[in-house]
């Protein structure tokens, strides 16, 4: 008999007043007992709507059935047929708009906690499994992957399992891309990312750090070196600013810089060689997941933090869960507010931000109601640090050194949606380099699509 409790099992978590002082993981994960109870909520529907909601089509009812049988390793094997990074996705996927949004249990109550179960299975595997992966028999073909973020790692994993010799080229000194430099430790512990990368290395994937493709080597040189296909998953590029006065004062960060200093360079640790400003009053401008990450990091460094967002709460692009976590941790939301200028003191350091109130008008092209300034509503907020979390524009390095690679008006690489193929033969692309800032799982989906297309292309060559 399925468990007909309409509520999903809550995620055991660190208390808000404890976790807002440390960088340890917030969500502690289901215990075996909770996982079994939650798994029993799955009705094992014949038409499996959840699978269609997953960008990489994980066989969800099948892995949940394995949990019910207490065959946790079997459950892991089901997930890993379709996903290269289960421990990551179980933590950072927006399940509420994907698999869980299609769950039949969600019609009268809460959907099955698919993401939490995925995380449980992946963590169980990482803690218990000792069986080394078999290195697949080589098919003699070499493929180069540019970037070791979610799209690149997924593409690499899928191709390696098919017998390709895969090399991943990473520009930074550590592999993982946004999983390492962007998403904070308290949402995604770096040891978990490293474990996923080790799993790929065990499949024979070669990861080369400190290789900036477009600079150290060009795409054409990769072909000269014997790679027969290239996947570009180079990720996000230059941060966007508002072009308001005072944005270059000391104490104004892009979210990319603030998060990279903290996550990649471990600036939150006292023994870190990389400095970070410990603001007392921090304003984070923007309402996406990156804004929430930056705000929660600043809070953990001891600041009073305000999120400044020009629309209202219901338009916040961040995941609901991230907004709730931020609120619980004491972060204040200044909604319907937009900055006009940042003010500096005599030392060119930030001392205040001038803001204006907004109201919502008619829906704009994005379908969201357009924010309109309220005349005469300007006011100052006292801040000593401002973090701009407004998105990024694609990185120019590869485009500028690769002849015949077409990009769109915004600089994103143009691809055929069904295959990820670019305007250059044997060159594929996916993730933020194509779409601009999006989610980890959609990048993984693109990596998966490209891996399939590369396999077909090289098999027929």
């Amino acid at each position: 008999m399925p468990n007909m409790n309409p509520k999903k099992n809550p995620m055991p978590s660190q208390e808000p007043d404890v976790r807002n002082h440390n960088f340890k993981e917030v969500a502690l994960g289901y215990t075996e007992e909770i996982a079994l109870d939650e798994a029993a909520r799955c009705l094992n529907c014949k038409n499996m709507p959840c699978v269609n909601g997953c960008p990489v089509n994980i066989h969800i009812p099948e892995f949940i059935a394995k949990i019910r049988e207490m065959d946790f390793e079997g459950a892991y094997q089901v997930i890993s047929r379709d996903s290269s990074l289960p421990a990551v996705c179980g933590r950072v996927c927006p399940q509420e708009t994907q698999c869980e949004s299609k769950c039949v249990r969600g019609i009268k109550g809460e959907p099955v906690g698919i993401g939490r179960l995925e995380r449980f299975v992946a963590d169980w595997h990482n803690a218990h499994s000792t069986t080394p992966s078999d290195i697949p028999a080589s098919n003699g073909h070499k493929v180069a992957i540019v970037g070791s973020g979610p799209s690149g790692l997924t593409c690499a994993g899928d191709l390696a399992r098919k017998g390709y010799k895969v090399s991943v080229f990473e520009a930074l000194h550590t592999a993982g891309g946004v999983l390492v430099y962007g998403i904070p430790e308290f949402r995604l512990p770096k040891a978990i990312v490293q474990k996923e990368i080790d799993n790929l290395s065990a499949l024979g994937v070669d990861v080369e750090t400190n290789m900036v493709i477009g600079k150290t080597l060009t795409i054409d040189e990769l072909f000269d070196m014997g790679y027969e296909a290239v996947f570009i998953g180079s990720g996000a590029g230059l941060p966007m600013f508002m072009n308001i006065p005072g944005e270059n004062l000391k104490g104004v960060y892009s979210a990319n810089e603030f998060l990279t200093r903290i996550n990649l360079m471990k600036a939150y640790r006292e023994d870190s060689d990389t400095p970070i400003m410990h603001g007392k009053h921090v304003a984070v401008v923007g309402g996406g997941n990156v804004a929430m990450d930056a705000a929660r990091c600043a809070r953990r460094l001891g600041a009073e933090v305000k999120i400044v967002y020009r629309r209202s709460e219901s338009e916040l692009p961040a995941r609901r869960e991230e907004v709730e976590h931020a609120k619980e941790e004491g972060i204040e939301f200044c909604l319907l507010t937009t900055p006009l200028s940042i003010k500096g003191d005599d030392k060119f350091s930030v001392c205040a931000m001038n803001c204006q109130k907004m109201e919502l008008g008619e829906p704009d092209a994005s379908g969201r109601r357009r924010p309109i300034p309220v005349e005469g509503s300007e006011y100052d907020i006292d801040v000593d640090c401002v973090i701009m979390a407004l998105g990024t524009s694609p990185n120019p390095l590869i485009k500028s050194t690769t002849k015949g690679l077409e990009v769109n008006r915004k600089g994103g690489i143009i691809v055929e949606e069904a295959t990820g193929k670019t305007s250059r033969d044997a060159v594929y692309a996916g993730g933020d380099a194509v779409t601009g800032a999006a989610t980890v799982i959609s990048a993984m989906g693109a990596g998966k699509t490209a891996a399939k297309a590369i396999d077909e292309y090289l098999a027929n060559k």
Binding site: A171, K215, N248, K250, N256, R261, M265, D273, N395
Partner: protein
């Protein structure tokens, strides 16, 4: 890991190293930079390329010991390795078509100016070099500059060597005599470049400056290296790591760059002191 194959102390606080990094050496051009990390938990610091040997696969860096990372780097010796070394980053200095150039280097900036002077000399360009230092004991690369310069001025602030005065003294003299150049290229402390730009401005000669702001990734992701250019009454944000490090000196907002450069001064001073104390304890 990237091995140190040569090390020389050019003066008490400036060190030259040749680093085995074949991929970087194969591509590096004058004006570009690299980013290194000394050890596994180290910070990333940018250093402009001071030379390269494509055959032996080595890249030359010359650095001043100013903080914790350069202090640690200076404690390594030939045979030791640096944890990370990535590049070449940024765009190369554009030298095509130049026939007569004045290179103005200041302090450790001379290390970056030298490969540009060498390249111009190889191209058959007439090179005037002005290199300036605080005092005699910190003069570097004098012979190297002499070898590639048609005319050279060595200046010291205190007059202890060469001519007395700053780099603008001979520059102003030449301009007063009506001397023309295709371009003035200047590399050194921000305040020096600001004054070289100011001195050159009335002549209308193009003036290129090499910016070296605070950076993290160096690949166009963090935006920490941004600076403001003033062009046709508009303020434009540029990123030194991908748009530079060379910029039109007449457009650069030097005052802003100088203030941004001091963001972590206090932290850096404390970190440097801490590392020095650790090394002292080790010696004991």
């Amino acid at each position: 890991m990237y091995q140190i194959v040569n090390k020389q102390n050019l003066n008490p606080t400036v060190t030259l190293m040749d680093i085995k990094a074949p991929y970087v050496a194969a591509k590096a051009e004058a004006g570009q930079f690299i980013i290194l990390r000394v050890d596994a938990d180290g910070e990333r610091i940018p250093l402009t390329v001071a030379g390269y040997d494509r055959q032996n696969g080595t890249v030359r860096i010359i650095f001043q010991i100013v903080g914790a990372t350069t202090e640690k780097l200076n404690h390594l010796n030939v045979g030791d390795s640096i944890h990370d070394f990535v590049g070449p980053l940024g765009t190369a200095t554009k030298l095509d078509g130049l026939k007569k150039v004045c290179i103005v280097g200041g302090g450790v900036g001379c290390a970056i100016a030298l490969p540009i002077a060498q390249k111009l000399h190889e191209m058959g360009c007439n090179v005037t070099s002005i290199i300036g230092f605080r005092s005699k004991d910190i003069v570097i690369l004098e012979d190297d500059f002499r070898a590639v310069s048609d005319r050279m001025f060595l200046m010291t602030d205190d007059g202890s060597y060469g001519r007395h005065g700053n780099v603008c003294v001979p520059l102003n003299e030449m301009f007063a005599e009506g001397e023309k150049f295709d371009e003035v290229i200047t590399i050194g402390p921000l305040i020096m470049m600001k004054f070289v730009v100011k001195a050159t401005q009335p002549t209308g000669i193009p003036c290129t400056v090499s910016m070296n702001p605070i950076m993290v990734d160096g690949t166009g992701m963090c935006g920490g290296c941004r600076l403001t250019l003033h062009r046709d009454g508009e303020s434009i944000t540029k990123f030194a790591c991908v748009d530079g490090p060379d910029f039109n000196g007449y457009e650069v907002d030097f005052d802003e760059a100088m203030s941004r450069g001091t963001t972590y001064k206090e932290f850096e001073r404390a970190a440097h002191e801490h590392v020095c104390n650790l090394f002292k304890q080790e010696v004991k």
